[in-house]
């Protein structure tokens, strides 16, 4: 299978603080990678490096053959990126919001693409409703629709289920599984072990900017008693003991 993203020996700093330290991993196309780690571990920094938002001090990110620090615009056009806690334009209707992103991404038939995206997230009846009238779950659906409207080759979702109720979280898990089935590569950051367990094929564990584990979910589960949360705790405790 072809490599989608290859991260090699990445060093990244925030001021004098080293956020990523000689970080390497790769993910094949069509896989779903879950990024786990404690708060401040470097998950969002890693994602921003992959998207080319933050240039690395050292190392390289190659995404579908493009260097992230040089081909930022190209990567933007083939990817869908949902930052953690991002907002929407509340004065827009759902249709206007998605049309805005479809046009920015220069989709050939923006109206058709928007209709398809709205159907995917099951908000057809809310097409002309202002986003300010949406619930948190519906806004999250609108945001997901905005990152799939241009048929991206890979998706990066930072805490997409943060603050959602169980039912909406289940809906999101269904969407992500459907995206993976369609062959999309998905990278998902989440603090919820259940979400990671139900959608991911591979897992990356990061702490203090170091890659502590990268492999299949099955290999990761062997680190604990068969659940993501116990494996997480064991990997985390081992790291703390080493320190």
């Amino acid at each position: 299978m072809e490599t989608c993203i290859k991260v090699s020996h990445l060093d990244c700093y925030y001021g004098k603080k080293k956020a990523l330290d000689d970080f390497s991993f790769e993910i094949e196309q069509g896989k779903c990678l879950g990024i786990l780690g404690p708060n401040g571990a470097g998950k969002t920094t890693l994602i921003r490096n992959i998207m080319g938002v933050i240039p690395p001090k050292k190392g390289q990110v190659i995404t579908l053959g493009y260097d992230a620090s040089e081909c930022f615009t190209k990567i933007g056009s083939i990817s869908g990126y949902l930052p953690e806690g991002s907002s929407v334009f509340m004065n827009m209707t759902l249709y206007e919001y998605l049309l805005f992103f479809a046009r920015l991404r220069e989709v050939e038939n923006p109206e058709g693409a928007v209709a398809a995206a709205i159907e995917t997230v099951e908000l057809t009846d809310e097409r002309n409703t202002k986003l300010r009238k949406f619930s948190k779950g519906m806004i999250q659906k609108a945001k997901i629709a905005s990152v799939i409207v241009h048929n991206p080759k890979f998706l990066i979702l930072d805490e997409p289920t943060d603050g959602l109720d169980i039912s909406t979280t289940n809906t999101f898990i269904k969407y992500i599984n459907e995206f993976v089935k369609k062959g999309l590569t998905v990278i998902i950051c989440s603090h919820l072990p259940d979400v990671i367990d139900r959608v991911c094929t591979d897992i990356l564990f990061i702490d203090s900017g170091h890659n502590l584990f990268c492999g299949t979910k099955e290999e990761f589960l062997k680190q604990g008693d068969g659940s993501v949360s116990s494996a997480y705790q064991n990997v985390y405790d081992r790291r703390r003991a080493q320190k």
Partner: protein
């Protein structure tokens, strides 16, 4: 260019309405008040136009500053800038939105000022009276725009560099304005427009320099 106009349209249609209301309200109130009071000597008329352009552009600059700041905190800037939009397109769309609103405000002020002071009825439409406030607005908008953007997002070295640039331009602006006031009675045709055109070109260079210093990480919340 296509993306740029999509962004401009979005800013005009869905940007913060409070700045647009402030601009129109300020233009109307100030125009009527000073129009009635001024008795409209040429000197005072040109002075008031420049001064209003300066003040209304300040509202526009606040708009750019707030808008970029909001996008940064709400992470919508990060979303927009990872769609393939360049920093130049993003910034110029914000600046142009403010400029369009400000130009409308200043022209409204000009019209109300002239009507309420009687100048409009006395002299009719003078092309220079339309062009001069537009240029003054563009100059101040570009100054404020670069000032706001660079001070909001750039590093300390960029800020110092821009401060030096802006200081020199501010001095130039004052000299040019004073010059045009003094010579106002001698001005025929479009000579009052010249200093503003020079300043606009100077300002555009500064804005462009400022934008070149920016990186996407400047628009990303920590």
């Amino acid at each position: 260019m296509k993306r740029f106009w999509i962004l401009v349209k979005k800013e005009l249609k869905y940007g913060p309405i409070v700045f647009k209301i402030m601009t129109i309200g300020f233009a109307l109130g100030y125009g009527i008040g000073f129009g009635i009071m001024s008795k409209l000597s040429d000197m005072l008329y040109y002075y008031m136009l420049s001064f209003t352009a300066l003040l209304i552009s300040l509202i526009g600059a606040s708009n750019v500053l707030t808008s970029v700041g909001y996008d940064k905190q709400a992470r919508t800037g990060e979303m927009i800038l990872t769609t393939g939009v360049t920093i130049r397109e993003y910034i110029y769309s914000k600046v142009l939105d403010s400029i369009i609103t400000t130009v409308i405000g200043v022209l409204l002020f000009d019209l109300v000022f002239a009507i309420s002071g009687g100048k409009f009825f006395k002299e009719g439409i003078n092309f220079e009276n339309i062009l001069m406030p537009i240029l003054a607005t563009l100059v101040f908008s570009v100054f404020y725009g670069s000032f706001a953007i660079v001070f909001k997002v750039a590093s300390i070295w960029h800020k110092l560099l821009m401060a030096l640039f802006l200081l020199s331009v501010a001095v130039f602006a004052v000299v040019a304005m004073v010059g045009s006031f003094v010579k106002i009675s001698l001005i025929n045709g479009y000579k009052a427009v010249l200093p503003w055109t020079i300043l606009l070109l100077f300002g555009m260079i500064i804005l462009e320099t400022g934008i070149r210093l920016l990186r996407i990480r400047d628009f990303v919340a920590k």
